[in-house]
């Protein structure tokens, strides 16, 4: 059987990493980044400047992400979910996408459980903030850090 000599592993990895690194990113997802200030502004638009307390909110998002195009995320809020004590809405923000919003979710008292899941795009490793608005007008929040690793073989636009 014909088998060509295989390069040494060190040489191989050097070559291949060079190849991948030099590949042109065919389509850029990052014209301008949102900034922590833009995130703060977006948060103020939701809270109207009311104080935001830490607690009650849980944000499940993988700390290390294989591909930023689809990052699963679950937000849950500790709440009785009764007619006079419930979560009205949940808002999720990011610092480094071109735009600071990841999602707004509006709940009703009969939801039974204040929990939503979705999948979002993250252009970079960054901090994510989730804020819940309760029926008594109070705001609660939590944050999580996400590290995004990039995909290897990119391709031309088809």
């Amino acid at each position: 059987m014909r088998r060509q000599p295989v390069p040494t592993r060190r040489r191989f990895l050097g070559l291949a990493a060079g190849a991948i690194g030099a590949l042109p990113a065919a389509i850029s997802v990052r014209p301008a980044e949102a900034t922590p200030e833009m995130m703060a502004t977006a948060i103020r638009a939701v809270t109207g400047g009311a104080p935001v307390q830490t607690g009650k909110v849980k944000l499940d998002i993988p700390p290390l992400v294989e591909n930023g195009n689809s990052v699963p995320m679950t937000v849950s809020v500790t709440s009785a979910m009764t007619a006079n004590d419930y979560v009205k809405s949940i808002h999720v923000f990011n610092e480094k996408n071109p735009q600071p919003n990841l999602g707004n979710f509006y709940l009703k008292p009969n939801a039974g459980r204040a929990q939503v899941s979705t999948r979002v795009r993250l252009a970079d490793s960054q901090k994510i903030t989730a804020i819940a608005k309760l029926s008594d007008g109070s705001f609660w929040s939590t944050t999580a850090d996400v590290v995004v690793t990039l995909a290897a073989c990119t391709e031309d636009v088809i």
Partner: protein
């Protein structure tokens, strides 16, 4: 030229029955073969495992609708000839690419579906990588989910498998690197954060997060060829089908996962 000589010699050996299937010997020992699934993170595996969250299932749903829709001047749907895909298409994807006598060459599943459109429905072929062809292919392949890959044993096919193997072993492109250098020799390594994996074609068409859509095995192969900085092949080129044939031979016995999710 050395390559051609090898193929000729090997084909001769096959015809002579001296070495029954010398080229299907796996470079990775059978016990060490792993689907790309096993290299993925927990979240990506979960996305594939749950049909209610796997975006590839949207393709299956569209494919089912297309299966039952009349097309072409023959006024026939796929179902009009093949009835219930759950019965008639079970196991089909597990043995593709297959040999087409009329063309005297192997055809992959996408090409078979397009042959049915032109030969039997009198319809235009569907374009590669467009949603309709991907959806139909995904729907047909999903009928083999969980079934072991069982390559088409037709003797006429073997020289094409041999060529596919040769392409896999052949160093090419500006990097002068072969598929085997990554996928046989370095599958346990990472490149720029991505697991290299063993290049097992178990889940196609796949929903790839990088593409944000379904895509075929040929699209995946073209990505890797671009990565080699080598001259690429057009969709449907016999070289790509030969590579597919070799990859399926290499993955003999591994279960079909369509629609798989990959990063």
């Amino acid at each position: 030229m050395k390559a051609t000589a090898t193929i000729v010699l090997t084909s001769l050996l096959i015809v002579a029955g001296i070495v029954p299937r010398p080229l299907i010997a796996t470079e990775i020992p059978a016990s060490e073969r792993r689907s790309g699934y096993t290299f993925m993170g927990a979240e990506t595996r979960a996305m594939q495992d749950d049909d209610t969250t796997n975006p590839g299932m949207l393709g299956v749903l569209d494919g089912e609708a297309l299966w039952n829709r009349k097309a072409g001047s023959a006024g026939k749907s796929c179902a009009g000839c093949h009835q219930d895909a759950k019965v008639t298409m079970k196991g089909v994807a597990a043995r593709y690419p297959a040999y087409d006598k009329e063309l005297s060459r192997p055809v992959n599943l996408e090409q078979r579906i397009n042959l049915c459109r032109t030969r039997h429905q009198q319809a235009e072929p569907l374009a590669y990588e467009k949603h309709e062809l991907l959806a139909l292919t995904t729907y047909v392949a999903e009928q083999s989910r969980g079934m072991p890959i069982t390559p088409d044993p037709t003797p006429e096919l073997q020289p094409f498998v041999a060529k596919g193997r040769d392409l896999f072993m052949h160093r090419q492109g500006q990097l002068n690197i072969a598929c085997t250098n990554c996928h046989d020799d370095n599958w346990d390594k990472h490149l720029a954060g991505a697991a290299i994996t063993q290049a097992m074609p178990t889940g196609y068409p796949i929903y790839r997060l990088d593409w944000q859509s379904l895509g075929s095995l040929e699209r995946r192969l073209r990505n890797c060829i671009t990565g080699q900085r080598a001259q690429n092949y057009d969709y449907g080129a016999v070289e790509l089908v030969e590579l597919e044939l070799y990859l399926m031979a290499r993955a003999r016995g591994m279960p079909i996962e369509t629609p798989a999710v990959r990063p």
